[in-house]
Symmetry: C2
Subunit: 215 residues, 2 copies
Amino acid sequence: MTDAPQPVRLVTCSTAPNPRRVNAFLIEKGVEIPKEEIDLATRAHYDPAHLDKFGTHHLPALELSDGSTLTETMAICRYLEALHPEPNLMGATPLELGRIDQWNRRVEFMIMLPAAYVFRHSHPAMATLEVQEPVMSEWHRRPLAKGLEVVEARLRASPFLAGDRFTMADINAYIALDFMRVTKTRVPEDHTATLAWQASLADRPSLQRYVPPAA
Amino acid sequence: MTDAPQPVRLVTCSTAPNPRRVNAFLIEKGVEIPKEEIDLATRAHYDPAHLDKFGTHHLPALELSDGSTLTETMAICRYLEALHPEPNLMGATPLELGRIDQWNRRVEFMIMLPAAYVFRHSHPAMATLEVQEPVMSEWHRRPLAKGLEVVEARLRASPFLAGDRFTMADINAYIALDFMRVTKTRVPEDHTATLAWQASLADRPSLQRYVPPAA
């Protein structure tokens, strides 16, 4: 696959949860891609030249050696997984491919998504960027709590989300739960399996928070 | 891969958009899985025995020959794609895997998702199942319109969403636009590329709507 287009530049904002997911994936793979960090507050990802090049404002956004681009966190990881198969993070057998994707998507739709709605529609930091609707925030607190229960039930039966080894599903879940803190939601104290799983991963280098360099 | 767990039963509701996506995928692959059709109005997918077995109420839900299960539309397709690689629908090269997933996700997050919010929070058929919040419906009409613009821009530059051939991204987009009709949203008349792409696919057997047998 040496003639496949290679990644050349990752436009990102490493403090945000989706960029953080791709960064964690890259660290686990031992792959480095030159990064261009942007400050979301500058709205540089809404610049017409950026939108024209990448097709959306979504970050991170990857530029490839053939001049094409790729956005959407999991699509970028899927491409990089094929380019750099080891260590495997997204599945090595048909069932494992499905099982990891199942948990990726449950975490995204049941935790990341409601947490993002709560954040965007209630957090003061988002007030200048969004038309905030309090009901959009409050409504999503119940599905978010439900999502935490689904993860807890799984981790009571399995050491990692997708089975007996660390995968992309754990990266996604760990960062989703970390992101969720902006909504003032905590993992409930009786979710002992989730808390133990979090603690077991807390020192993993790929999962550390990004600290921007001093200006 | 003949020793891999095989699909044995698909619990589904073929009139709903996510089940329809998996059904279209199966038809394109020429793969048949015994189906158990349930009526969403009976809430059979919220039955404790169902929840205990499959882990969520999400449909479709797949049971495998090893007794395990798989839910989440795209995870089921990802598993089946590995089990039945031809015809390829989800990517044959690293970049194609990423490109198809990019468009799968854009369609899901930019069209399916806002359309589902509009539907669930405004349609009379959902009034008995949901606490409907009109603002949750109205708020999503603008991102839905934006998603249609992203698809139109792409189809002006490419014959199919992910490139020069029909893929899962086209299945997802076609069914998303069909589902969107429940929100009283139509593809705008000046979206000529989207309308031409829709027309070109309208007779494809996999994309026909499911008509339940007469009771």
